[in-house]
Amino acid sequence: MNLKVSTRQVDGVSIVDCSGRITLGEGSVVLRDTVKDLLSKGQKKILLNLGDVNYIDSSGIGELVSAYTTAKNQGGELKLLKLTKKVHDLLQITKLYTVFEVKDDEAAAVKSFR
């Protein structure tokens, strides 16, 4: 299943609910465009909810890194919410788990943004 995203606002934080696969091609492009669009609108507190993302390939990992650095370079913050075990394991072996701020609870994640 290709990536589907929907965005909602909670207390000034843009929560991007993602479901499906973040892989080379359409999935990566959808994520990139969504984050770019939010940043261009000045919405710089971004929480990517990956609870329904069951597969990410190396291109998808690259896209997460790109989203993180793009947000950071524009004075924003991008955090991850609710990783599935597969995605968690991938971020562990690529040592990116220490780079991203990862949250399990949505309310706590929203509060954690400055």
């Binding site: 080379l24 091609g25 190396s58 291109s59 990992i61 690259g62 650095t69 072996i93 690529t94 040592k95």
Partner: protein, 148 residues
């Protein structure tokens, strides 16, 4: 499938990447690998197919990707060949190096090596061949689980 070998000749497209992944997933399941192993094998094949289509053949419609599966008595061996200029092994970065952690690419070979038991890469001027090997365990040649 023990002793069997079969191959596919595929176009240099993103559809090939998906087909390679799906085929690997099916064959890994048929050979008794568990759910995590099936995911690992399928992802390794996907990454190798991405390298072949993007970096090897560079989407050239005149170049093919060959995908071959072989079940030996001890291993599932998957070979992916492209018709590109040959991978430059010296340019494969260490994605775990601090200076590379935030790079947006360069993790494919690392993931392949992480997920397979053995990986052999043979670049040449006529293309790159990558052999992915996963040991079959606890199975008889007939595909039934061996009694302990």
């Amino acid at each position: 499938m023990a002793g069997d070998r079969f191959s596919y000749n595929l176009d240099s497209t993103l559809e090939t990447v998906d087909k390679a992944e799906q085929t690997a997933s099916r064959i890994a399941s048929e050979n008794g690998f568990d759910e995590d192993e099936v995911m690992q094998i399928a992802m390794a094949v996907r990454e190798a197919a991405v390298n072949a289509v993007l970096h090897g053949n560079a989407y050239d419609p005149g170049k093919k990707v060959e995908l071959e599966f072989e079940r030996t008595s001890s291993d599932l061996v998957i070979t992916i060949r492209d018709q590109g200029k040959g991978m430059d092994m010296a340019r494969i970065p260490d994605p775990l190096a601090p200076e590379n952690l935030l790079k947006t690419s360069g993790r494919g070979i690392f993931l392949i090596r992480s997920f397979m038991d053995d990986v052999k890469i043979h670049p040449s001027s006529t293309g790159t061949e990558i052999k992915l090997i996963k040991h079959v365990h606890g199975m008889t040649e007939g595909g039934k689980e061996a009694s302990q």
